[in-house]
């Protein structure tokens, strides 16, 4: 009976793990922080939609912006070693959370944009070690 229950419900229950960054923005993984780690936005319906695709491995934020480091990930093949930098404006109650995102940026471009936006003090406060 137990085996039946396990078998029948093998995929019941969210396989996604979500960790709130701020407001409606979440760090989401489908594979226990192996490769598929992205930033998602919680909609009014309770569903989530992508903001920044995998593989996000470092983030930080203040009340207006989220900063993120990402390795491009071609599902399901490999994680590239390139590092892309992003600045994500925090938008409340929207169907277009991808609007206004700055990136992919190089480190130099990222530092310049941070200065322009006056967020030089926003640092990467969370790092995730991933399998490449």
């Amino acid at each position: 009976m137990l085996l039946y229950a396990i078998s029948l419900s093998s995929c019941i229950g969210s396989e996604f793990q979500r960790e709130k960054i701020t407001d409606n923005y979440y760090l989401i993984t489908t594979d226990n922080y192996n490769k598929d780690i992205y930033i998602g936005y919680k909609l009014k319906t309770g569903d989530f939609v992508g903001v920044l695709p995998s593989t996000v491995f470092s983030i930080g934020n203040n009340e207006k912006y989220i900063v993120a480091k990402q390795h491009p990930f071609v599902f399901p093949v490999k994680v590239d070693s390139t590092i892309n930098y992003y600045i994500i404006p925090i938008i409340r109650d929207t169907l277009f959370p991808e609007n206004g995102i700055l990136g992919p940026l190089t480190l130099e471009e990222f530092q310049m944009k941070k200065e322009e936006l006056g967020i030089i003090n926003v640092n990467f406060s969370k790092n995730i070690s991933i399998n490449k």
Binding site: Y4, I6, S7, L8, S9, S10, C11, I12, G13, S14, E15, F16, I28, T30, D31, N32, N34, K35, D36, Y38, G40, L43, T45, D47, F48, V49, G50, P53, F75, P76, V77, L95, F96, E98, N131
Partner: protein, 169 residues
């Protein structure tokens, strides 16, 4: 001997098919073997799995979201929804009914892109099946590429854009 999908649908319609766990498990094993073979291979239109997913609750939700998102957009070029996550909970389990494919795939995320040339919506379903999922979150996941590690599947299908849905949302 397993019944073909067309007969299962027909029997379901006329109420002949009751919950048959053995049938579901047989189909799940069959699909499991097939998905292992198809790892890293993209499934195309008319594939049985893509066809089952087309009518799933998760796809309905992302479809509704696409039409709601672009309701007031005149030019759809570049329109997309990415990484929409569809959790397969108790509600979805009962909605899936006897469909073993939908139950097997379970939780997945979807990308939808509008193709201006063909006036279609292109769906890409990405599913990660880990030991955590298989043992209902009571086991860790691995990504070694060996037995018991995570594996990733991609399914694709397309459908014609239905402009009338923009008016309904």
């Amino acid at each position: 001997m397993l019944l073909p999908q067309s007969q299962i649908r027909q029997k379901r319609k006329i109420g002949e098919l009751t919950l048959n766990i053995l049938l579901i498990n047989k189909r799940k094993i069959e699909i499991s073997m097939r998905t292992l073979e198809l790892e890293k291979i993209e499934n195309k239109d008319d594939d049985e799995i893509a066809d089952a997913m087309r009518n799933s609750d998760g796809i309905s939700k992302v479809r509704d979201f696409f039409y709601k998102k672009y309701k007031n957009t005149k030019k759809l070029k570049g329109a997309s929804v990415t990484d929409y996550d569809s959790s397969f909970g108790i509600k979805q389990f009962f909605k899936a009914g006897l469909d073993p494919i939908e139950q097997y795939v379970g939780t997945f995320k979807v990308n939808v892109y509008y193709d201006e040339k063909s006036n279609t919506l292109e769906y890409t379903i990405q599913n990660t099946t880990s030991m955590t999922s298989a043992f209902y979150h009571a086991s860790p996941s691995y990504d070694t590429g060996g037995p018991m590690s995570n594996y990733y599947q991609t399914y694709k299908f397309s459908e014609k854009l239905d402009s009338t849905k923009f008016k309904k949302k």
